[in-house]
Amino acid sequence: MNTRNTGRRGTGTAVTMTLGIAALASLAATYAVGLSLPRTYEQGDYSKLIAIHPGIAWASYVAFGVTALASALWLWPRTRSLAWDLLAGASAEVGVLFTALTLITGSIWGRPTWGAWWVWDARLTLSALELMLLLGYLALRRVPADSEVRARRSALAALLAVLVVPVNHYAVQWWRTLHQGGSLSLTPKDALDGKFIFAMVLGFLAMTLVYAWLTVHRFRVAQLEEDLVDDDLDAALEARRREAVTA
């Protein structure tokens, strides 16, 4: 029935294959380098988390930014295309993964360092709010609608959510710093030596590549879904036409 035979099309190409290999290789390198970091006096083995945690957090910001940018490009009449909407959705989904991982790895690091899984630090609170914003955005996307309607609705919702991020930033910053001073800092600035910086930068690279890889595939799956809807519609139309001819 499917005129375009979508069943045979995958989401991989030579480019994504290369991207995937690069992502996995850099992830493996991060793993190796991260584990080879020396124990530190204050944090013991936990300081090795510096190889992945900042990189994951960075990728979550990238995801948020790409969703916002793609939404803006959809809203801009000259660049309006369904692709931007699908990219915004794909990036937001991968963004949820990275934001959740940020919170999880942060908690694992926070437990031995601060003595609690969760502290009401400004950055933690901001990440938690971002996760909620992303979940709300994705819930809105999942509401069945015509693709044009869904695209406009989601793009506006994304921009609305992005607008609040700076306000959120200052709110939680002042909220936490007015009361207890900047006693908490997520990066041990003074103690960073070359090895740690190298591991951290490698982590940034690896997480960015993983983000890009996942997002490209998710984007293509979304495109295939759209094609499938079109094909089903074509097939249904075709069936009705045949009925009309035979009747």
Binding site: L75, L129, M132, L133, L135, G136, A139, L140, V143, A145, V149, R152, R153, L156, A157, L159, L160, A161, L163, V164, V167, N168, Y170, A171, V172, W174, W175, L178
Partner: protein, 224 residues
């Protein structure tokens, strides 16, 4: 735009005057929330006094969900949305009108909740001016953001469950800032808080969402 805003606000408030939904349902709900907080926390040990500002604003936030939902529901039935689109009303005017109506209802609600906090939690207000400034800035922001998300979710079948998820993380800074700004004034305790920055943050929030609404409300109305 302003004339349209006045028309729409007048319409919404007239409907409220006749149907009394906010008065008969939302206001008792808000007071009920205050009472529930007293059940949850120990009313005898000053906990309520110290937390009064936060509890007050949480009650306002929860009630604003209902007010926004009601405001959006007015447009969702009887083909009102379609006729509004066909009418020559300026979308920016419709937005400002609806937001103004919600803001006015919230303001009345806040006065009621303020009395509730004083009576039920035994707090002594001081600095009424700070309180009024906070309430105005926070209410405008809540009404603007709420009206936007209200129309965004209005046409959806899952609006009751989706609206809180969309709106609450967005208005979280309002809760933080309004609580801090009004803490000293509302609880009567001497606290080391300067309300100035928080008030500015509330004002920025309100301006951002008002501006966004004026620009984008037309596009949001189209898809429901």
């Amino acid at each position: 735009m302003w004339r349209d805003a006045a028309l729409v606000a007048g319409k919404d408030l007239r409907i409220e005057l006749r149907s009394r939904v906010a008065l008969n349902q939302v206001a008792p709900f808000a007071v009920l929330v205050l009472v529930l907080f007293a059940f949850a926390l120990d009313p005898d040990r000053d906990v309520l006094v110290r937390a009064a500002a936060g509890l007050f604003w949480v009650a306002v936030l929860l009630s604003s969900l209902l007010a926004v939902q009601r405001s959006a529901a007015l447009e969702a039935n009887d083909g009102v949305a379609d006729s509004q689109r066909l009418s020559s009303l300026d979308p920016a005017g419709i937005f400002l009108g609806k937001a103004a109506a919600v803001a006015l209802q919230l303001a009345v609600l806040e006065v009621l909740l303020g009395v509730g906090v004083v009576v039920l939690y035994d707090v002594h207000l001081k600095g009424v001016l700070t309180l009024v400034a906070t309430a105005v800035a926070a209410t405008v922001g809540l009404a603007a953001a709420g009206t936007l998300y209200g129309v965004l979710a209005a046409g959806l079948r899952v609006r009751e469950t989706l609206l809180p998820l969309l709106l609450l993380p967005v208005v979280a800074p309002v809760l933080i800032a309004a609580t801090r700004a009004s803490e000293a004034a509302l609880t009567g305790l001497s606290l080391d808080v300067t309300p100035g920055d928080w008030l500015r943050l509330l004002a920025v929030f309100a301006v951002i969402y008002l501006a966004f609404g004026v620009v984008a409300y037309g596009a949001l109305m189209e898809d429901s």
